[in-house]
Amino acid sequence: MFAVPAVIVLTVVIGAFKKVDLFGCFTEGAKEGIGSLISVAPSLIGLVLAVTMLEASGFFEILTGIMSPVCGAVGIPPEVLPLGLMRPVTGSGSFAMLSSILEKYGADSLIGRTASVMAGSTETTFYAITVYYVSVGLSKTRHTVPAALGADIIGMIIACAAVK
């Protein structure tokens, strides 16, 4: 993927043109990255633990066994279904789930890539809805949930179709 080095070079060139303290900014930003990674680490540890336990208990095999006919009908590999269920509800949880799927099936396998696209192209829908509406004191949401969840579901189907 050449886009990544291209974006980096473009950013640095624009920065140099605008006379920005390039390396100072970079280290400052990287420091913030470490900070936010450390702040999510505790919840990630808790959720990776829970996902690893669920995986070891054989729960995902049972779930994918039950759901495979439904998944097959819409073109979703049943192995990524647990991720799909987790994605709209919790960010750290879905990252823990993605990491477990990547490890089990391989990051560059079809399932691994499908899971990556699914996790990368949707958001923590319920969390976003709650935070935004609670902040302005609204408890009614009108058509937000059907529209957002509808988009999520279609997005997941698109993700599976896109990778194939």
Binding site: V48, T90, G120, A128, S139, T141, H143, V145
Partner: protein
């Protein structure tokens, strides 16, 4: 009419972040109960120590890619790229959220929030989003329910439009991917289509729900 979402009402009572409590609890209990049925209690015991260990390794192996990207982003921010993108987005936002056409403050906050999301500035995006909601609420005629532009804004925020999904790339790198960024084009296509679906659904439902 859109059926009232009972599930959503329950979600609000549980209180968003508090929901994670129930999920985590559920995951732990289910894993123990399930292992009794599948006879995998030995594997489960090992998973407890493995899981905690794995998580720390994961955080460490993600750190490089994450920090590289937050560092590059900071340069982009300081170079004024964020403002440029915001200005470019304004006309598009006016088109999909016509209710806030004359609400300059809301328009600015909405564009800044979407820009932060596109660049993956998660920490900046949420405060800007909250500011946008506050400004939109000022012109909200429904008072106790969100108007169409607020719903549209939240729906846009539940879609993930991100130029470089650095967390995904970092997770792939940590899992030993040969090409952590190879999924990028698929993520772009999928998230754009998801966003468009969300916008269309919000428009359709807003007309039907009136």
């Amino acid at each position: 009419m859109i059926p009232k979402c009972i599930f959503w009402e329950i979600m609000l009572i549980l209180g968003g972040v508090g929901l994670l409590n129930y999920i985590w609890f559920g995951m732990l209990v289910i894993s123990v109960v399930c292992s009794l049925f599948t006879g995998r209690s030995a594997e489960l015991s090992r998973a407890v120590t493995d899981g905690a260990d794995k998580a720390v390794k994961l955080v460490i192996s993600m750190a490089g890619v994450m920090c590289l990207w937050t560092g590059i982003l900071r340069i982009a921010e300081k170079s004024g790229v964020t403002e440029k993108i915001s200005v470019l987005l304004a006309p598009v936002i006016k088109l999909i959220m016509p209710e806030c056409r004359d609400n300059q403050k809301a328009l600015e906050a909405v564009s800044a929030n979407i820009t932060a999301n596109i660049l993956g500035l998660g920490n900046a995006a949420t405060p800007l989003g909250l500011k946008a909601m506050k400004e939109l609420q000022k012109t909200n005629k429904l008072i106790d329910a969100p108007d169409n532009s607020m719903v549209m804004f939240v729906v846009i925020n539940t879609a993930s439009l991100q130029l470089i999904p650095s967390t995904i790339a970092a997770l792939r790198q940590a899992a030993g991917s040969e090409q952590p960024f190879s999924v990028l084009p698929y993520i772009w296509i999928t998230s754009v289509l998801t966003l468009i679906t969300g916008i269309i659904l919000a428009k359709i439902f807003s007309v039907r729900g009136r």
